[in-house]
Symmetry: C2
Subunit: 200 residues, 2 copies
């Protein structure tokens, strides 16, 4: 194992974070690299760039391309996919829940479950019902986890992550930080892992 | 050889088009896929999206990342690199020259030479001097080619390419069109070639 983890910065509303979240655990384990899961919110970062919506909605040509590309990517990696009817989804509760579960062994499975709900099952991940269903499928009691997700310390931790993302110069998702080097986009996951291993 | 060529849409001012232009001939030959070289201008396409400059200049965080990423990519692929002092460069004459040389066997070498001038040699590719030097290095007499580049038919052909790019929904560079499927970004070159081969 590399001494430092690879930081995986993801946003539950982000389309390209979905395949990355589904692939990263297997690839990192194969490379012997630990992962630090870093949920954050893109909204405040987009707002600082003058955007009040996803660039995929603001720039229709880019959006049309992205949906087709995402569909192809999911097919390539054998991932379930159904274009969500709501985009982008309100991801704050999901991000808080992932932070509340930071130290749990089932965190990666929770993250994947929320992404599948969003990008394959047509569910609304803003609701406690959807998140509770994902928790229950992992054998967890939903109520206490949803309460922890709304605690002040978790709210502060998410604000802290988003501030740190901005300080790191992150401007999209997914992004990876490997020994101080920033990589943007799921198609850079392999490069980020290789960079991390150089310092192992 | 696949019956239809893979379309390679590139802009001489585009940073990520540089590694793609350097890699495509070898990779396509290995795959047995012919290439249709399609120079076009991003300026009119960016303007239609409300941008009067490269998004890498308009969004500084994105720009800072891109320059570092480009440097890493060039190192990965063994390509020479020196960050240009002018960005984006005025690429209209270079694009016309590439169109004038469409049917020449040395077109790929010309394209690579212009990119190297821009992204490794600190040259100004807007000038006839730089383009003439690239032509001369290929054993071509610069003057007649630079004149052909300024002919009305070539000017019209470049306008036609840029219009077609817009009609195809292209919004950046490099882009590849493989049997009607659009792929964006040099990191999708392998995927585009694989897509082309499915129909071979």
């Amino acid at each position: 194992m590399s001494t430092q983890p690879l930081e995986f910065w993801f946003e539950f509303a982000s389309t390209y974070s979905y395949p990355a979240a589904m692939r990263i655990e297997t690839l990192a384990a194969r490379a012997g690299v630990a992962i630090a899961w870093r949920p954050f919110l893109l909204g405040p970062i987009f707002q600082a760039q003058g955007w009040n919506d996803s660039p995929f909605n603001l720039y229709p040509a880019k959006g049309r391309y992205m949906w087709r590309d995402l569909e192809r990517l999911c097919a390539k990696h054998g991932l379930p996919y159904a274009r969500p009817t709501i985009f982008p989804q309100r991801s704050i509760l999901a991000a808080r829940l992932a932070l509340a579960a930071t130290d749990e062994s089932w965190l990666p499975a929770l993250v994947r479950g929320i992404y599948v709900a969003n990008f394959a099952e047509g569910a609304d991940i803003a609701t406690p019902e959807t998140l509770g269903r994902v928790l229950a499928a992992l054998g967890q009691d939903p109520q206490p986890w949803l309460e922890r997700a709304q605690s002040q310390s978790v709210k502060d931790a998410l604000r802290g992550n988003t501030d740190r993302a901005q300080a790191l110069g992150l401007f999209g998702a997914p992004m990876f930080v490997a020994r101080g080097e920033v990589f943007w986009g799921g198609d850079r996951l392999e490069d980020a892992l290789a960079w991390q291993l150089r310092g192992a």
